[in-house]
Symmetry: C2
Subunit: 427 residues, 2 copies
C-alpha cells in the first residue's frame, strides 16, 4: 500500500544519520569498556534499543547499558553507573527510572547510559531493565533485513493510528511489541491479515494458555511468565483491529480522514483545569484519570447525567465533562417510610415543619413521600463541596482548591479541541 511506504520513506533514518549513530555509540562503548578495564570493574557495555536493532525511525535516542556482574550490590552499580555516565557524557544530567542514570547529548543525539545486572536467558532478573539486553539479543538473532523493514513499517502504521507508545497516557504498543509481532507473523501483510479478522483478545503465540486478564497477551520470549502486551488498552487493540481491516480493504480515506467539527451540541460542557505538579506523567496521569472519574461520579450521583468526557495532560491537567443537565431540578421526590411503620407519623411531623417541603406529604402505594426543594442546584457548587471529601491521589489532593471550573463554551483549551475532534484514530 503506497501511502504507508511513503510515510516510511519520510521517517526512516538517512544513511548519514545511521552512520553518525554508529560512530557515536562505538566511541562511547569503547570509552566505557576502557574505564571498566582500568578500574577493574566486572562489567561490560552493550547498546540496546531500536538503534541497536536497526528498527529505529528518525531522531531516535541511543541507549547504552552497562551490565554489571550479579555479585555487585544494587548500591554499587547505581553509584558506579552514575560515575561512568558522567565520565562519558559531558554536561549529562541524572534521571531516574528503576535506577538512576545519566542522560546527555553527543553531537545533537540524546544518549542514555543506564546501569543493569548482567543476566542470561531464564535467569532471575533483579530489576526489569535487566531484561533489555536480552530483548536486543533476541530481536537481532530473529530478524533479517526484510523483517527489519516491516518492523519500521509497523511502527509507522502504529504511529499513524496513534497506538504507538507504552507510556501510561498512551497505553499503546511499544517498539519491542512491534518487533515481536513481525517476528511472530513473519511480515507486515500477514500481521494485517490476521488483525483484520481477529475477534476478542490478541494472543501471541495463539495457543498460549489464557492466564492473563489483559486484552493483549504477547508472551515475552525471554521470560515466558511475562505478558509483554500488558500495557495495551482495549481501545488501542480495537484501533489496531479496525485499522488493519481498513488497510486490507484499501480504505486509506477512512484511515486518513479529518473529522468535521460541530460545536453546537445542545448539551452542557464543563472544563476542570489544574496546574500539573512537577512529577513524571506515568505517575500523575493515573491521578488525573482518577480525578476525572471522581467528578463524573459526583455529577452522575447528583443527577446531572454525564454522557461524555475527555482528558488532556500538558502543562495543566484539563478535564472535560459533558452533561445532559446544566442545573439540577429545583424539586426532588423524597421517599419516606411505609405508612404502617412506626416512623411514618414522625416523618410527616418532621417534613410538615421543614421549610424545604415543596409538596405533600403524600401517599404512593404503601409509602409516605414528600417533594423537597433542592438546596444546591449548580454544578460548580456541588463539585467543589463533594471534592472536599474525595481522595483524588497523593499529588492532586493538595491542589483541590486550585481547580478552575470553566464553561466549555468559554474556552478553547487543548482538551476542548481534543473532545470536538475525537475520531477513530486519535485518543
Amino acid at each position: 500500500m503506497n501511502y504507508l511506504e511513503n510515510l516510511l520513506a519520510e521517517q526512516i533514518p538517512t544513511s548519514e544519520e545511521t552512520k553518525k549513530l554508529g560512530e557515536i555509540s562505538s566511541t562511547i562503548i569503547q570509552k566505557i569498556n576502557d574505564i571498566c578495564k582500568a578500574d577493574n570493574i566486572n562489567a561490560s557495555c552493550t547498546e540496546v534499543g531500536s538503534v541497536s536493532k536497526n528498527t529505529n525511525l528518525k531522531s531516535s535516542d541511543i541507549d547504552i547499558f552497562v551490565t554489571f556482574d550479579k555479585s555487585y550490590s544494587v548500591d554499587y552499580i547505581e553509584k558506579k553507573g552514575l560515575e561512568i555516565g558522567h565520565r562519558v557524557l559531558e554536561n549529562g544530567t541524572e534521571k531516574y527510572a528503576e535506577h538512576p542514570y545519566v542522560s546527555g547529548y553527543v553531537m545533537g543525539i540524546k544518549v542514555d547510559v543506564v546501569p543493569a545486572f548482567k543476566i542470561s536467558e531464564g535467569e532471575k532478573i533483579v530489576s526489569t531493565v535487566d531484561r533489555t539486553p536480552l530483548h536486543t539479543l533476541y530481536v537481532n538473532s530473529n530478524t533479517d533485513e526484510a523483517m527489519v523493514h516491516d518492523i519500521r513499517l509497523l511502527k509507522v502504521f502504529m504511529k499513524s493510528i496513534n497506538v504507538y507508545g507504552s507510556e501510561i497516557s498512551r497505553s499503546g504498543f511499544s517498539g519491542y511489541l512491534c518487533e515481536l509481532l513481525i517476528i511472530h507473523f513473519k511480515n507486515f501483510d500477514r500481521l494485517m491479515g490476521y488483525m483484520a479478522n481477529l475477534r476478542g483478545k490478541l494472543i501471541v503465540p495463539e495457543n498460549t494458555e489464557d492466564k492473563f486478564s489483559e486484552p493483549v497477551i504477547i508472551i515475552d520470549p525471554v521470560d515466558p511468565s511475562r505478558n509483554a502486551g500488558a500495557a495495551v488498552s482495549e481501545e488501542n487493540l480495537s484501533r489496531l483491529k479496525l485499522a488493519s481491516k481498513l488497510y486490507m480493504a484499501g480504505r486509506e480515506d477512512i484511515l486518513n480522514h479529518t473529522p468535521r467539527i460541530n460545536k453546537n451540541r445542545g448539551t452542557h460542557i464543563m472544563v476542570f483545569v489544574v496546574k500539573k505538579p512537577d512529577i513524571i506523567d506515568d505517575i500523575i496521569y493515573p491521578q488525573a484519570v482518577r480525578l476525572k472519574n471522581r467528578i463524573w461520579d459526583i455529577l452522575h450521583n447528583n443527577g446531572f447525567m454525564p454522557v461524555a468526557s475527555e482528558i488532556y495532560v500538558g502543562s495543566d491537567i484539563e478535564i472535560l465533562i459533558e452533561c445532559e443537565l446544566g442545573m439540577l431540578p429545583g424539586t426532588k421526590v423524597h421517599m419516606g417510610p411505609p405508612v404502617e411503620s412506626n416512623e411514618s407519623i414522625k416523618f410527616i411531623d418532621v417534613w410538615n415543619s421543614n421549610a424545604r417541603l415543596m409538596r405533600g406529604p403524600y401517599i404512593l402505594k404503601n409509602r409516605v413521600y414528600v417533594d423537597v426543594r433542592t438546596e444546591q442546584r449548580d454544578m460548580e457548587g456541588i463539585i467543589r463541596k463533594e471534592l472536599k471529601n474525595s481522595d483524588i491521589g497523593k499529588n492532586l489532593n493538595e491542589l483541590k482548591d486550585e481547580i478552575k471550573i470553566i464553561n466549555g463554551e468559554d474556552t478553547d483549551l487543548e482538551v476542548v479541541r481534543k473532545f470536538f475532534s475525537k475520531y477513530l484514530f486519535n485518543s
Copy 2:
C-alpha cells in the same frame, strides 16, 4: 374523638328526612306490589341500599329492587322492570347498569327502580345486582343500633380522608364494605385499633386463605367465593391505615391539615387536555389513565425523565406530567457495532456521510460510536408524533388530534390545583 362525632352530626339525616324517606319508599313498594298482583307477575318488591339498612348519610337515594322469579327470562324482567319503573316514577328516565332501570325524583328525593332475579343465599346469581337484596338482609340481621351508628361514623371518617366510594376513579371503600368492617370488628374503635397496627393486606376474616391478589380482601358473607374489597386500591388502604394511626394517636391536626402550596418547583410541567367523551366515568377513566401512562412512557423513553403526574377527569380529561428536562439534549451518543464485526466499516461509511453526525466515529472499548444530532428536541412534537402510533383506548383514539398541550405555568386547570395541593388524604 370529638371532631368525628361533630362531622357525623352534620351528616346524619334528620328525623324529618328519615320519616320522609320511609313514607316515599312504602308508597312506591305498595304501588309495585299492587301492579304485580294485578298483572299476575311472580315478583316481589324490596328496598335495598343504605336507607333500607339505616346506615345512610344525608341526601341519600332510595333504591327499590323488583325481584322476579328465576323462571323469567332476562328479556322479560328488563322489559317489565322498565314498565313498572315508569308507572311508579312520573318523568323517570331510563339508565343502564347491568340491566336498564328507571330513575326519577319523588318529592325531591332520587329513587331508582331496578329489576333483578330473586335468589337465596348460596344460590347461583344471574347478574351481580341479584346479590344486593341478600346484602341488605345480611346487614339488617347482623347490626344493632350502636353498630348502625358506627357504620355511619366510619362512612364519615372514610369520606373525610377521601377513601369512600367504589367508582373506578376513586377505588375506595363502598358503603357495604363499611358495613362489613363494623359487623366484623364490632365497633369503630376496635376497627381503628386494628387498622392502626395492620401490616400488609387487609384480610377479613383474618384467617381467610390468601387466594386473592388484591390489597384488600373482605370476603362477601353472602358469597364466600367473592372478594367484596377487590376494588380498593393500595393507596386507599394505605390512607386508611395511616388515618387510623393518626386517629388512635389523637392527631387531628395531621388529619385536617391544609397543605401550603409552592408553585416554583424548578421543573418542567406540561398539561394535556382533551374533551371527555359522553361516556360514563367507569369506562372513560381507565382510558384516561392509559393515556397518562402512554404519555409518561413516551417522555421516559425519550429521556425527558418524568418524575410526577396527576390526572383529573371532569368535563375535560386533564393530565399533568412533571419532567426534569424540558427539552432534549441536542446530541445523543449512538452505539455502533464491535470493531471486529463485518458491519463496522459500513457503519463508519454511513455516518461519515450523514448530516446528523456531530462527532466521531470514535472507539470506546471494543465498539465504534458516533454522536448524533437529536432531530426533534421539543416535548410537544415528540408526544404528538408518538401518540399517532399508540392505542389509547376505543373512545380516546379518535380524539388524539384534539389533545391540547399546555405549559403548566400558563394554566390553573383543576389538575394543576390537584397536583400542587397533593396531600396524604386527597387523591
